[in-house]
Structures are given as structure tokens and as C-alpha cells.
């Protein structure tokens, strides 16, 4: 079974200890422990830079079934700090697979733990809220691990964006995955002089956002989070504020950029980008008890009165009331009533808390990218 059968411990900051088996790289890792309820898409989740700083618990029990492949990445390498499941399975079976999950984690230096009661862990996180945790295959003394995790300052104050944003600007031209594509199929960029030029501020952007923008006919350029806004404007017909990890208040430079950009070009915000936009508009954000992470949340498009099943991954929310009359709430989460989308009443600015790009998750909200395009064309 070529599995790393080493014993491993997961210790939460409140003193809860789970004993399981190590998976992937040996080592020790600290992060904020969150659970994700998606039943498919573990590779997308692993490589979603929004999980920087976090240890992800998969509530679905069988993880690794279909292996890993280069077409299912959302960034170049896994961003999670650690990975937790009931049972990791390292005998993949899928035509797209190019390797097992275990070796993938190992190559990327990521430590996982399985063989634990993930439902008990999830219920614990649901009732007590997210908290810091530590996984170790090296130190098997729970007391010492508890000490280590309690010493950790937590991730709220950290600027995690700076750790995941691109160092250099780049142009993007990979299309959406279509059924029938081989994972290795190369894409020949289409020269399109009429394409609307969009600049994406990379706070940890998921590749599927870029793929969707490409599919919607945009010429896509990705720039570092710290790019001066005036520079970005030079090459942009429109701006996209991407998803990313952490507390939006810990990236003040991004908030400042947004303040500058508002009113100059049409803007689309997604997830962290949405929260940064909220702060840029002078509003406030708050932290959810255990966040939204999964692929089954119903979101109501308030204008169309239609429900979209959405991909979710966030711990923070925009307090829509703090924005007063500037914006209109366009989307609402039917689970807990939280705000999921807003539109500026005067400016061509729309933004979404959930993930219209899916990856993983349902495609119900994928039309948002063409809606953005329509808005730009009208503006």
C-alpha cells in the first residue's frame, strides 16, 4: 500500500487531540483548522491559495480516490498548511490521474493526517468555532504540541496575501477545462484585438477565475497585489479583485488601491477581493464562527429570484449595513442570511462573496463573468 503508516497527532488549541496516521510529507505544521464539505475537488482545494494559513479538514471520508492531475490545480502548488481526512486513499483510479495524492503532498512538503473521526472534529469546530491546530508526525507528545499551537500568534493579523501573490505580472491564456481535454493538451493563445483588457489583482487568485475570464473573451493580465493602481489602470479596461487568504483588514495597501480605482474603471470583486472592495467603500467586515467552505450553499440572486448552488470558501464577511446606501445587496446566502453579492448603485462595480468560478463546485454562477463583460460594454 506504500503508505506512510507513521503515527501522527492533530492537536487543537483548546486541547482536543486526535490520533491518526501521517500522510504525505512527514513534519509538523500549524494552521487555522477549517472544514470543507465538498465531496469532490480535493486537489482544487489543496491548491486554492485562499487556504494559506489554514489546515483543511475534508468532511467527506474517502479522499484521494481519483489521484491528482495537472488540470485540476488552482495555483502552482498546494497552499494549505495541512490536510485532514477520515481515510486518504492512495490507489487512484481515474483516466485523468497522473499520480497519487500521497506522493503529491510529499513532493510539495505538505503533511496530512487520516484515520481520525473527522465528523467529531467537524462538529467540534462547528460548535466551538475555528481555532488554531497543529499536525505532527515528529512530536507525538500532545502536551508539547498543545504548547506549540497555543504559542502561535494566529493568522488573523498576518498579511498572507504577500506570501501567495505573483512576484511578476503575467498574461493568462489557458482556457476552461472542457470534457475530452487531455490533461497535457496545450493551448494555443488566440490573438484577439477586440478583447477587453482586464487586469487581475492577484491576492492568491484561483486559476479558474482566469480561465473563466478567458472564456468570457477577456485579455487577462495578472499583477502582484502591491501593484500601484495607477500602473494597473494604464493597461486595463476593467479590474478584477481576486480571491485570497486571510483577514481583509490585514492588507491595507490593497484597500488603498481599491479606493483609488473606484470610479475609474469597472470592477469585479470575488471573495477576498469582494471584502477588500467593501472596506475600500468605507464599510466593515466581520469574521464568521466557522466560515463557509463547501460546494452546496444556496445563494439567492435577489433580482432574478433564482437560487444558485455555489462554491464557498471564506471566513470573513462584508457587513452590508456598514455600506449604507452606496450599494445594493444582489445575492444572499439562504443558509444563514449573510451577504453574498453586491452592486454599486452608481458605479459599474459588482462583487461576490462566493466563487462563481467554481473549481471545485457547481457552475451555477459561472454566468457572472459574462455579466461583468456586459456591464463593461454598457459602461
Amino acid at each position: 500500500m506504500n503508505r506512510n503508516e507513521a503515527k501522527a497527532l492533530l492537536v487543537l488549541a483548546d486541547g482536543t487531540v486526535f490520533e491518526g496516521r501521517g500522510f504525505g510529507a512527514r513534519g509538523e505544521t500549524v494552521g487555522e483548522v477549517v472544514f470543507n464539505t465538498s465531496m469532490t475537488g480535493y486537489q482544487e482545494i489543496l491548491t486554492d491559495a485562499s487556504y494559506k494559513g489554514q489546515i483543511v479538514v475534508m468532511t467527506y471520508t474517502q479522499i484521494g480516490n481519483y489521484g491528482v492531475n495537472p488540470g485540476d490545480i488552482e495555483s502552482c502548488a498546494p497552499s494549505v498548511e495541512g490536510f485532514v481526512a477520515k481515510e486518504f486513499f492512495d490507489y487512484p483510479s481515474n483516466w485523468r490521474s497522473q499520480g497519487g495524492l500521497g506522493s503529491y503532498l510529499k513532493e510539495n512538503g505538505k503533511t496530512g493526517i487520516d484515520g481520525i473521526d473527522t465528523r467529531a472534529l467537524t462538529r467540534h469546530l462547528r460548535d466551538r468555532g475555528v481555532q488554531m491546530g497543529i499536525i505532527s508526525t515528529e512530536d507525538l507528545n500532545p502536551g508539547s504540541l498543545l504548547e506549540k499551537v497555543r504559542k502561535h500568534p494566529g493568522i488573523s493579523a498576518l498579511d498572507l496575501v504577500s506570501e501567495v501573490t505573483t512576484k511578476e505580472p503575467y498574461a493568462w491564456s489557458e482556457p476552461l477545462w472542457r470534457h475530452g481535454d487531455r490533461p497535457s493538451s496545450s493551448h494555443v493563445p488566440r490573438p484577439n484585438r477586440d478583447a477587453i483588457k482586464v487586469v487581475v489583482f492577484d491576492y492568491g487568485v484561483k486559476m479558474n477565475i482566469l480561465r473563466h475570464l478567458d472564456a468570457a473573451g477577456f485579455a487577462v493580465t495578472v499583477v502582484p497585489a502591491t501593484t500601484p493602481p495607477e500602473e494597473a489602470l494604464k493597461q486595463a479596461d476593467a479590474i478584477v479583485l481576486s480571491n485570497g487568504p486571510g483577514d481583509p483588514r490585514s492588507v491595507p495597501y490593497a484597500i488603498d488601491s481599491v479606493k483609488y480605482l473606484l470610479g475609474k474603471k469597472p470592477i469585479l470583486g470575488i471573495c477576498l477581493g469582494h471584502q477588500i472592495l467593501g472596506l475600500g467603500l468605507g464599510g466593515s467586515t466581520y469574521k464568521l464562527k466557522f466560515g463557509h467552505h463547501g460546494g452546496n450553499h444556496p445563494v439567492m440572486d435577489l433580482a432574478a429570484k433564482k437560487v444558485e448552488i455555489t462554491s464557498q470558501n471564506h471566513n470573513y464577511c462584508v457587513d452590508i449595513r456598514s455600506l449604507g446606501n452606496q450599494v445594493e445587496m444582489t445575492h444572499q446566502n439562504l443558509y444563514d442570511g449573510t451577504e453574498e453579492g453586491m452592486a454599486h448603485r452608481e458605479l459599474p462595480v459588482i462583487s461576490y462573496q462566493h466563487h462563481p468560478e467554481a473549481g471545485p463546485g457547481p457552475n451555477d454562477s459561472g454566468h457572472i463573468f459574462s455579466r461583468f463583460r456586459d456591464m463593461i460594454e454598457r459602461a
Binding site: T37, G143, L334
Partner: protein
């Protein structure tokens, strides 16, 4: 599901274990889909939504089946069902999302977001369930009933029921599904076969292929080779390999001296893999009770988790539970008092880590009753028993008891999360039931309503100190045990056909000689007459013993005198331990020897004398009192030459309880449940027999059209999979209605083909006369036609099949025949006339294979010809009964 605002949600994805080519109803299936990447899954999701919209399912549920080529991901839509389907029941139980219930609400105009999710209460139904467990459905087959049928699994569905199991992993769920089937399997027991034999066997899909796959793995066959032979996804095969590897670990694990179960850590791992105590005992040469004892001593118990639609993201309010085994986790506790979180870790000293296993069962301290269900549907034990269980739940809830349901059949009402107060979706084995009882500590368990499944558990449960409600396990045993039952009959001076038991061929031959042929032979402790046969000579006994003893080595073979041409009578009665009330007396249409489940019957009796009915009532009361029945009891009698024989007594709810309850308008199962917790029949207002001023006729429904090559002749082996009921003031019309409902409608004119055995010929003239007077013409084979013509009854002659064309089968195929009466005896005659019955079935020509059936049919034709059938609701019939009771 789609609502009228075009909101669409996907409830469940299910992946088949068997590749394309095996009907999905016959395949082992697994939820959720296991081997698809998210991108592929979303392709199927988007395609499903597109199909629903294109077909135009405005509201409600649909089922879409896809084929995915595992080599390149190519997707093909196989079919879509724009309605709730068999799989929607499975999907509902697998996720906790009640598809049919929501579909009904959508149909009257609600939208998904307006309907609350019952389980979480605070969230709406406009979401997609996510699950944190694995569901396996295993179909239940009945090939033993149809030995002539081809048991290869194909695109024609052949299973008769299914079991569903829930576990945290596929391995656990798969092993639970095997023991849920109730086929005396508790895991992957070894199969005696060589690798070469197995290779040939597994290439062709059959219901038991998985045990052969396991054996192949045990013999060292590679996953690649097995995949090449079967095209079963390697993911499933590799999981099976892990189970088989674990067997080896269990076998060879270091143990203490003597016969002891495996080491604790191995036992823990084995339980996580879904191994039953029984299988672990087999592997370690111990007894099931040793393994259970070992588990108890080390505190290794099943913990229960909830099916909550949301993978624990929200609090769930419906106790819909399944068992699993999880390693405990630990909670740090500070030595000093005070909140651990608030204190600085160092200053508060070292924490102690205490084990904190989690179980979501959270039993209440209410007065509660556990009701054991009937497991997967099979021939002989179907939804009738689920009806009884559900009624028991309703009745006990009315009395203020907490009701706890245990069952593993996804096709039932009992496994709806909102039927009982608490639902355990679990196999009905001693181990799984005991685990629940240990947690719940009910005042008692009801084993009477789920058919033979829970009844078999009565004695073992009682031995473990579990209180059984109603009739005592000892009384159940007295009725089930041949020798003890004989003592009772002797004591009460009641008659039984001569009978004996045999463990060997010689014993069987001696018994049969003493009793006198023909005799009826069968294994003990079975429902539905499995492996039951009427034998006329010694050679047949030898053949039978060779097969039957192999089929069930633990139980003796029962040998009874077969009463030829007797009338069979079924009686259902209820008793509170003091008073006995007859619920209904059913006179069978077909003669004794045709299994009671396959025979049509009439309530009230249509030909028995008042004196005979009185004797039946007296004997029923005497038996109920002698057995101290508390609850329901069913007795089968045979009347031959004005003598009453007792065929068998079942101190439990019978298959006919729903039929009787609907006939008399009194809910017997409900009352029985109330009696079992101490109510008297007087308190329930049922002190005398209900006499009805109408007739109800029950007719069996058969799956013959599923099994090419199977003869439709009836016999002691039960073959029907369902039943219908006709009700009318007149017996003939009630019978006609029952035949129409069973898709065997009586013709009012045309040509009747008659071919009967010699023994039936005396009955023929009266029937032929009626047919001719009703304007029918008669065609018969030479012997029968000659017989009728001699009596001046007009009948044309047609060739037998062996006599050259055109013959009777040609006439059936040409649709020149409107009704077939065909009775035969003896193997040779059966073979010769098989093509007649086969053609009748194939060309949908109404037919009967008994003279009694023909008599009832002609009576039905006679009255229907005279007066048209009117429509009247069953409530009106029962109102009429109350207003004007029968004399």
C-alpha cells in the same frame, strides 16, 4: 429536483460497482460517486440540469443515468426518468433529502427555497445534500425460487429487493451491506473454487460475484487481472483487497494463549473496516460471543452518527442514525479548576488527556420500544411486514412511547426519518441490534412485525437479557419447533397431517414411507416455502435431500403428508393474553399445496359451512390461549373431507395482516402493538369478530415475465412478489376485480382453450356448460374435446404441440384464444404443456393453472357479464358494514 421557478438541485450521485450492462437495479451501487474528479462530476451535474430543462420537468424529481467511459471520460446519457424512481427512494435514504415529499410540495406550487429542510430546520430545501459517509446498496435476488431461470445479470432487472448500508468508508459500508442481505453471510466468507473456476465465474456478472472476487484476491489474483476480467473499477477492487488483507492480519495477529479474539488494536481496525464479530470469530476460530465479550471488556463499542444532509455543518434535529467504529480522541483537562482556554497553559500545570469518544445517539430517558423491521424485500417477506412495523410505530406513539425503528431496507416507509421517533439504519443481525439496545435501553423489543427476520432473533436476544414484548420467545419456539408443536396439538386434541423430520436420506425415506406418499418436504425455519416440494416417490425424496441438505445444513428437513384436493384456510387472530378475537378467515381459491402466498383467497370464506367456520374459530382460540399469544397469530388450516387439519401456526404478524385489516376496516397491527404494551382488547374496543357484508379477494402478482424459461405453474414454493385486492358485495365480481388488478383480466366473450389433467375432468362439464351459455366457444385438445362432446358439450379440437401444426400454441400466438385453462400433473405433462403457459404469458392471454382458479374465474365472468362493475370507495364499504352488519 426542479421547482416552478426553474431552481434545480442535485440530490445524490450514485456510482455503480458493476460496469454498464448490468441493470442498475441489479448492480451494487455506491453513493456518492467515488472515482470522478470534480470537473467530471460537474459535467454530469450540468448535463443533468440541461436534460431536466430540455425534457421539461416543470416540478419534481428526475433520475438521469449516465455512462462514463473510464478510459477517456466520454459521457453518454443512458436514460432519464422524469419522475420519482426506485433510485429516488435510495437517494432519499442515502442523503436524508425526502425527494417524494418535496416533489409533492413542489407540485402544488411551492419553490425549493420556501420549503424547510426537516433535518436542520433552519436551512431551506434549495440546497444539495453533502454526505460524510459512504452508502452501499446491494440488491436481493430470488434465483433459488426460479432454478430454471438464467441467473446472469443483464439489462433486464431480476432482483426482488435491496438492502442499503451506511458506513464511514466504502469498506465498512460494503461489509455491512453483505450482512444486511440476510442470506446467512457475515462478510466475505471463503468460496470453494479454484482460481480457474473463479476466473470463468467472475467474467459473467451474477448476484454472488463479489464473494468470488474476494476469493480470487485471497488466492493472489492481481487487481489488474480482476479488472481486466470484470471491468469493475480498480478503486472498488482495491478496497476489497484491503478487506482481504485485513483478514490475514486478523488471522495472524498475536493473541493470548488459548482461543482468544485478536489483539485490541487489530480488533479496532477490523471493526473500522466493517468486519462483523461473527466473521472475526470465524477468522480466529472463536465464537461470536467471545469477540463481543472482548470488545465489551476493552470498551470497543459501535458509535452512532447522524445522517444530516450537511456533513455536520448545521445542527440536525432528526435522529436518523447509523453505526460506525471510530478511534477515540482526547480532551485536555486542567488539573486545577477554571476554563482551560482562558488560562495560560504553562501556569496552569500539565493537562491530562482524557478519551472522549463521540456518539450522536443521545438516547432519551423516555419509555421506549424498539421495533425490528423486516430487512430487504424478498419473495415471502415483502412490504406487508413493513406495513405492520409502521403501524406498530403509530400505535405506540399514540400511547406516548418513544419508538425506535431498526431496518436496512431503503424501499420502505419504516426507514423514513419521520416515521419512528428514532431510526437506526442498520443490518438486522444480533450484533447490530444488540449494540443499539445497549445504547437505547428500551423497555422492550417487538419482534412480531418484521416477519421471520426479527423472529429469528427473539431467542438470542432474550438470552442476552433483552425483554421481548408480546408473545414470549418460548411460545414462538413452541410454535416453530416441530416436536414441541406436536405436543401442543396432542394436548389440545387437534389434528395435523402426519409429519416427521429427517436429518439424512435414510431417515427421510423411512419417514415418508411411514406417512405415505405424496408428501410435502421442506427445510425448517423458512418463510415463503423456500425449497418446498411435493414428492410422490422415493427417487424424488433422494433428489430432494441431496439439494435441500446442502442448502441448509443446520436445520432438519420437514416431511408432511400432502393432503390432495384439500381447501386451505388462513386465519389471522389477535390476543391480549386473555381474550382472542379472530381478525379474518380467508378461504383459498387454489387447493392446499399451492403456497398460501401464491394462492388467491376470499374473505369471508365463500364455500365453507357455518359449522366448519365455528370449528376453525374454536381451534384458533384454543391455540392462541395455549401459546399465550400476546399480539398477532396466523394459522393455516386445511379442510379435507370435512376434517380440519392444522398446517402451521405463526405467532407473529403474517403476510395477510394488511389485507385482513383493509377487508374488515380494523387496524389489527396497530391494535396488536398496543396489546403488547399492556392494553386489553376490551380497552381497544375489539371484543368480537368483525363480520363484513362484502367480499374481498386477494390475488398474487408474479414476476414470471422477468424470468424467461420459467414455468408459471403454481406449487408449494412461493413465487409471487406482490398482491392485489378486489372488493365487492359479490364474490364473483370481487374476484374479477382482483384479476383485472393483477393484469389478468377476465374476458367476457371469445374462445376458451381447455387442457386439463384427468383428475380435473369431472369438474369440467359444469364449467363448460356455463361458458357455452355465456356465449364462449371452447377449443380443447383431443382427449378433453372428446370428453366434452360425449356429454353433448360443443368443443372444437386442436392439436397438442407434439401433434403437429397448427397447434394450440399457434392459436395463442395468433390471438385466437381469450382465456387459457391448463392444469397438469407429473413432470412429463408439465414439460409438454410448458409452451402453452409460456405463450399465454408472452402474449398476455389471461390464464389459470388450477381447476379451482377456473371455477372462480368463470363465476367472475358470469356475474360481470350480467352487471357492470361500479365504483365505490373502500370507506363506503366499511360504512355499510357499520350501518348494516352481516348476519
Amino acid at each position: 429536483m426542479r421547482d416552478n421557478r426553474d431552481n434545480v438541485v442535485i440530490i445524490c450521485s450514485i456510482e455503480n460497482f458493476d460496469p454498464m450492462g448490468v441493470h442498475t437495479g441489479d448492480s451494487i451501487t455506491v453513493a456518492p460517486a467515488q472515482t470522478l474528479t470534480d470537473k467530471e462530476y460537474q459535467v454530469l451535474r450540468d448535463a443533468s440540469i440541461a436534460v431536466i430543462r430540455e425534457i421539461g420537468v416543470d416540478t419534481g424529481g428526475s433520475n438521469i443515468q449516465f455512462a462514463v467511459n473510464p478510459d477517456d471520460g466520454r459521457v453518454i446519457v443512458i436514460e432519464m426518468n422524469p419522475r420519482v424512481s426506485r433510485s429516488s427512494a435510495l437517494a432519499s435514504k442515502a442523503t436524508g433529502f425526502p425527494i417524494a415529499k418535496i416533489a409533492a410540495k413542489l407540485a402544488v406550487g411551492l419553490t425549493l427555497d420556501e420549503i424547510p429542510n426537516d433535518i436542520t430546520k433552519e436551512t431551506p430545501a434549495s440546497f444539495e445534500p453533502t454526505i460524510d459517509y459512504v452508502v452501499v446498496k446491494y440488491p436481493r435476488f430470488a434465483f433459488e425460487k426460479f432454478p430454471e431461470a438464467d441467473s446472469t445479470l443483464t439489462t433486464q432487472m431480476k432482483s426482488v429487493g435491496e438492502a442499503m448500508s451506511i458506513g464511514r468508508t466504502f469498506k465498512e459500508s460494503l461489509q455491512k451491506s453483505l450482512r444486511s442481505l440476510e442470506i446467512d453471510s457475515y462478510g466475505f466468507e471463503p468460496v470453494e473454487a479454484t482460481l480457474t473456476e473463479i476466473r470463468d465465474k467472475i467474467k459473467i456478472p451474477g448476484w454472488d460475484r463479489i464473494w468470488y472476487l474476494a476469493q480470487a484476491i485471497r488466492l493472489g489474483e492481481s487487481i489488474e487481472e480482476l479488472h481486466a476480467l470484470t471491468n469493475i473499477d480498480p478503486w472498488f477492487l482495491f478496497n476489497m483487497k484491503q478487506i482481504i488483507d485485513m483478514e490475514e492480519t486478523i488471522k495472524t495477529s498475536p493473541r493470548g494463549t488459548g482461543v482468544t479474539p485478536p489483539a485490541p488494536e487489530i480488533l479496532m481496525q477490523a471493526k473500522e473496516y466493517g468486519f462483523s464479530d461473527r466473521r472475526i470469530a470465524q477468522l480466529t476460530g472463536t465464537r461470536e460471543s467471545d469477540v463481543r465479550g472482548m470488545r465489551r471488556s476493552m470498551g470497543l463499542r459501535a458509535s452512532y452518527k447522524m445522517v444530516d444532509t450537511c456533513a455536520a455543518e448545521f445542527r440536525a434535529y432528526t435522529p436518523y442514525l447509523y453505526s460506525t467504529y471510530e478511534k477515540p480522541f482526547y480532551r485536555a483537562e486542567m488539573q486545577k479548576s477554571g476554563s482551560a482556554e482562558e488560562k495560560d497553559f504553562r501556569s496552569s500545570g500539565l493537562p491530562v488527556f482524557r478519551p472522549a469518544a463521540e456518539c450522536e445517539a443521545n438516547p432519551t430517558d423516555r419509555k421506549k420500544v424498539v421495533i425490528l423491521g423486516s430487512g430487504p424485500n424478498r419473495i415471502g417477506q415483502g412490504i406487508e411486514f413493513d406495513y405492520c412495523c409502521v403501524h406498530a410505530v403509530f400505535a405506540l406513539r399514540e400511547l406516548g412511547y418513544e419508538t425506535i425503528m431498526v431496518n436496512c431496507n431503503p424501499e420502505t416507509v419504516s426507514t423514513d426519518y419521520d416515521t419512528a421517533d428514532r431510526l437506526y439504519f442498520e443490518p438486522l443481525t444480533l450484533e447490530d441490534v444488540l449494540s443499539i439496545i445497549e445504547i437505547e435501553k428500551p423497555i422492550g423489543v417487538i419482534v412480531q412485525f418484521g416477519g421471520q427476520t426479527p423472529l429469528k432473533l427473539a431467542v438470542p436476544l432474550e438470552k442476552e437479557g433483552v425483554p421481548i414484548l408480546g408473545t414470549s420467545p418460548d411460545s414462538i419456539d413452541r410454535a416453530e419447533d416441530r416436536r414441541r408443536f406436536k405436543e401442543i396439538l396432542h394436548k389440545l386434541d387437534l389434528r395435523q397431517p402426519h409429519s416427521g423430520t429427517a436429518l439424512s436420506v435414510d431417515e427421510a425415506l423411512a419417514e415418508a414411507r411411514a406417512i405415505g406418499y405424496p408428501v410435502m418436504v421442506r427445510p425448517s425455519y423458512v418463510l415463503g416455502g423456500r425449497a418446498m416440494e411435493i414428492v410422490y416417490d422415493e427417487q424424488s425424496i433422494r433428489n430432494y435431500m441431496r439439494r435441500a441438505v446442502k442448502a441448509s445444513p443446520e436445520h432438519p428437513v420437514l416431511i408432511d403428508k400432502y393432503l390432495e384436493d384439500a381447501i386451505e384456510v388462513d386465519v389471522d387472530a389477535i390476543s391480549d393474553g386473555k381474550r382472542v378475537v379472530i381478525g379474518g378467515i380467508m378461504e383459498h381459491i387454489e387447493e392446499a399445496g399451492i403456497h398460501s402466498g401464491d394462492s388467491a383467497c376470499s374473505l369471508p370464506p365463500y364455500s365453507l359451512s357455518g359449522d366448519m367456520i365455528a370449528r376453525i374459530c374454536d381451534q384458533t382460540r384454543a391455540l392462541a390461549q395455549e401459546l399465550n399469544v400476546v399480539g398477532l397469530m396466523n394459522i393455516q388450516f386445511a379442510v379435507k373431507d370435512n376434517t380440519l387439519f392444522i398446517l402451521e401456526v405463526n405467532p407473529r404478524a403474517s403476510r395477510t395482516i394488511p389485507y385482513v385489516s383493509k377487508s374488515i376496516g380494523v387496524p389489527l397491527a396497530k391494535m396488536a402493538a398496543q396489546v403488547m404494551v399492556g392494553k386489553t382488547l376490551e380497552e381497544l374496543g375489539l371484543t368480537t369478530e368483525i363480520r363484513v357484508p362484502h367480499f374481498t379477494v386477494k390475488e398474487a402478482v408474479f414476476p414470471f415475465d422477468r424470468f424467461a424459461g420459467v414455468d408459471t405453474l403454481l406449487g408449494p414454493e412461493m413465487k409471487s412478489t406482490g398482491e392485489v385486492m378486489g372488493i365487492d358485495e359479490d364474490f364473483g365480481r370481487a374476484y374479477a376485480k382482483s384479476q383485472s388488478s393483477a393484469k389478468n383480466p377476465m374476458p367476457l366473450k371469445g374462445t376458451v382453450f381447455i387442457s386439463v389433467k384427468d383428475k380435473d375432468k369431472p369438474a369440467l362439464p359444469a364449467l363448460a356448460e356455463t361458458l357455452l351459455s355465456l356465449g364462449f366457444s371452447i377449443i380443447a385438445t383431443r382427449g378433453t374435446a372428446f370428453f366434452l362432446n360425449q356429454l353433448g358439450l360443443k368443443a372444437d379440437t386442436v392439436n397438442k404441440v407434439t401433434e403437429g401444426r397448427p397447434h394450440c400454441v399457434d392459436l395463442i400466438k395468433n390471438r385466437d384464444i381469450d382465456f387459457v385453462i391448463n392444469t397438469v400433473t407429473g413432470a412429463k405433462a408439465q414439460q409438454d404443456s410448458f409452451s402453452i403457459r409460456e405463450a399465454a404469458l408472452q402474449y398476455n392471454v389471461p390464464y389459470t393453472t388450477t381447476i379451482a382458479g377456473a371455477r372462480a374465474a368463470i363465476k367472475a365472468i358470469e356475474v360481470t357479464a350480467k352487471k357492470k362493475i361500479n365504483i365505490k370507495s373502500i370507506q363506503e364499504y366499511h360504512r355499510a358494514r357499520l350501518e348494516k352488519p352481516a348476519p
